[in-house]
Symmetry: C4
Subunit: 189 residues, 4 copies
C-alpha cells in the first residue's frame, strides 16, 4: 500500500470537490436586471465561502493526520474512501442551501440537510482517526462530533445560523488543529 499515492488521490479529490463548489451558484436568468440577480445570489456566495473553508480546513487536517502514519493498510484506505465519499457530496447540500436561502423557501429543510451531511462527515473523520490511533493513544480529548449533531438542532432555528456555525467550526479546527491536539495528548501522557 503506497501511502504517497493514497495522499495524491485524496488531494485530487479534495481539490476537485472544492472547485466544483463554484458550480453551486446558480447562473443569472434575467440579464436585464443583473445587479439585482447577483445580489439575490449572496446567500449562495456565503454558502460557497463556508463550504470552501470547511473543505479547505478538512484537507489540512487530512494532511496532518496522514503525517502521523508511517504506513497504511487496506482498512484505512476504505475508511479514507468513506470519508472522501462524504467530502465529495458537500457541493450538493451547499447548492441546495444556497438556492433555498435565495428563494426563501425550504430553508429549514436545506439547513438540516447541510448539517446532517457535515455530521456524517464528522463521524467518518472520527472513524478514520480512531482506527488509526487505536493502541497508540493519540487521541485523548475525544472529537467534538456532538457539536455537529447539535448543529442539526440549530438548523431547526435558522439556516444562516447553521452557515455561521459551520464557519466557526472550521475556524476552530484551523486554530486548534488535530495535529496540535494529538501533540497535546501525547505530551500529557
Amino acid at each position: 500500500m503506497n501511502k504517497a499515492r493514497v495522499e495524491t488521490f485524496s488531494d485530487g479529490v479534495f481539490a476537485i470537490a472544492i472547485t466544483l463548489l463554484v458550480l453551486t451558484i446558480a447562473q443569472p436568468t434575467n440579464y436585464g436586471d443583473l445587479s439585482r440577480q447577483l445580489w439575490d445570489r449572496l446567500p449562495s456566495l456565503a454558502a460557497y465561502v463556508v463550504s470552501f473553508l470547511v473543505i479547505g480546513i478538512m484537507w489540512l487536517n487530512h494532511h496532518s493526520i496522514f503525517g502521523y502514519f508511517e504506513r497504511i493498510d487496506r482498512p484505512l484506505v476504505y475508511l479514507n474512501h468513506l470519508l472522501l465519499l462524504t467530502v465529495v457530496f458537500v457541493p450538493y447540500p451547499t447548492g441546495v442551501l444556497g438556492e433555498a436561502l435565495r428563494r426563501g423557501e425550504g430553508t429549514q429543510t436545506a439547513a438540516i440537510f447541510y448539517s446532517v451531511t457535515m455530521a456524517v462527515n464528522a463521524y467518518c473523520w472520527a472513524a478514520l482517526w480512531l482506527y488509526a490511533s487505536s493502541g497508540r493513544r493519540l487521541l485523548h480529548d475525544g472529537f467534538p462530533e456532538e457539536l455537529y449533531t447539535v448543529a442539526i438542532g440549530v438548523a431547526f432555528i435558522s439556516a444562516y445560523a447553521v452557515l455561521a456555525l459551520h464557519f466557526v467550526f472550521a475556524a476552530y479546527y484551523a486554530v486548534d488543529p488535530i495535529s496540535r491536539r494529538a501533540t497535546r495528548a501525547s505530551t500529557a501522557e
Copy 2:
C-alpha cells in the same frame, strides 16, 4: 515511458470521475416541498454511493496492478486509456439509473445500461491484466467477467438488484483484491 506519470494521470482521472458523480444527483426543482424532493432523490444517492465505491475500489486495484509493473510500454498505456475511457463514462449511466429510479420510468433500460457499462469496464480490466501478465503467469484463477455479464441479466429483473449486485462486486474486490489473488497464484506455482 515514465510509469510514475502514467500513474499520476490515471489517479487524476479516477479522482475527477469519482468527484463528478455528485453532479449526477438532480437539483431539486420545487423548494416549497423540499424535504419530499430530497427524499425522492434517495435512489440517486444510492446510485451515487454504489458508483463511488465501485470507482474507489477500481482505483485501489489499479494501484495494486501497477505496483507489479517494473516498467510499462506503449500498448499498456493504450489499454490503460481504454480502461480510463470506461471509468470516466461511469457518471453518465449512474445519473441515468438514479433518475430513472426516481421517476419510476425506464428503470429496466437504465439498469441494463448501467450493467453493460460495468461489463465493458470489466473486460477492459481483463485486457489490461492479461497483456501485463502474459508470459509471467500471474493470473491463474481467471477474472470473474462472467459475473458482470450475469449482472446484465439481473437488470431485466430489478434495477435495485443491479445496484446491490455491483455493491457486492465492489465489496468482493475489496476483500479479495487482485493483488492477493496474484500472490496466491504465484505461490501456487
Copy 3:
C-alpha cells in the same frame, strides 16, 4: 507542514478552475441556425481566453512565489486558501460576463462584477506576498493593486475594455513576473 503537498493541492485547484472555464460557454439552443449561434458566442470565447490566460499566469506566479519559501506555516496555508477561494470563483463572473456580452444586456454590471473579483484576487495575492516577505524585504516596488481597482472604474465605460485590460495585466505579469521583480528588489538593496 509539507510544502510539496500544499503545492500539489494548489496546482490541482488551479488546473481544475482553469478547465471548468470551458463550461462557462453556453451550449447552442437552436441547431437549425448553428453558425450564427456559435458566432454569437464569440464574447464568451473571448472571456474564456482572457480568464484562461489570467489563471495561467497566476499559476505561474504562484509557482514562483512558492519557490522562495523554504518552509511554510499554517497562516500561510490559510492565506493560500483565501487566494484559491478567489481563483476558483473566477469561472462564475467569466460566465456572467460572456453571457451578458452575448445578450447585450447587463454588460456594465457584469464587467464591474468581473473587475471586482479580479481586484479581490489581487488583494489576496498581496496579502500572501506581504506575509511571506515581511522581515525579508523581498518586495520593494509595491504591487499594482491600484491598477485592479482602476479596472473597476473602466467597467463603467466598456465591458470589452475590461476584458482587454485584464488581458494586458496578464501579459504584464507574464513579461515582468513577480520573481523578476523580487530579484530586482534584492539586487537594488
Copy 4:
C-alpha cells in the same frame, strides 16, 4: 522554472479536460422511452470516444516531448499554456458535434467547428515543438498540420467522416508518435 511542476499542472489539465468530456453527452429527457433516447445519443457517444482518444494520445505526446527537455523557460511555459487552452476547449465542440448529429441539424457547421478546433490545436503543438527544437534539429519531417487543415474541408462533406478522420489521426500518432519521429530524425543526420 520547475519542469516537474509544469508537467504535473499539464497532467492535471489533461486529466480534467478528458473527464469533462462525459458531460457533453446530453441527459435523457423522456424516461418513458429511455432505450430510444439512449440509442439517439450514440453519435454523442462516438464523439466522446473520439475526443477521449484524441486527448489521450495528446497527453502521451506531451509526455514524450517534455521528456526531451532538460530544462524549460518562460516562453515554453506560455506556449504550453496556449496549447492547454486549446485542449481544455475540446469538450465544447465535442458536445456541439454530438448534439448536432443527434438532432440531424447543423451537422456541417458543427463538423467544421470541431475540425477548426483540432487544426488550431495542431498549430499550437507545432509552435511548441518548433520553439523547443530550434537549433537542435530534432524535427526533420515537418508536422502534418496540413492534414488537420484538410479535415476542415472534409467537414463540408460529412460530419461522421470528420470523426472517423480524427480517429485515424489519433491512431496514426499512437503508432508513429512524435518521440519516434524525433529519433528517426536524429539518426538520419
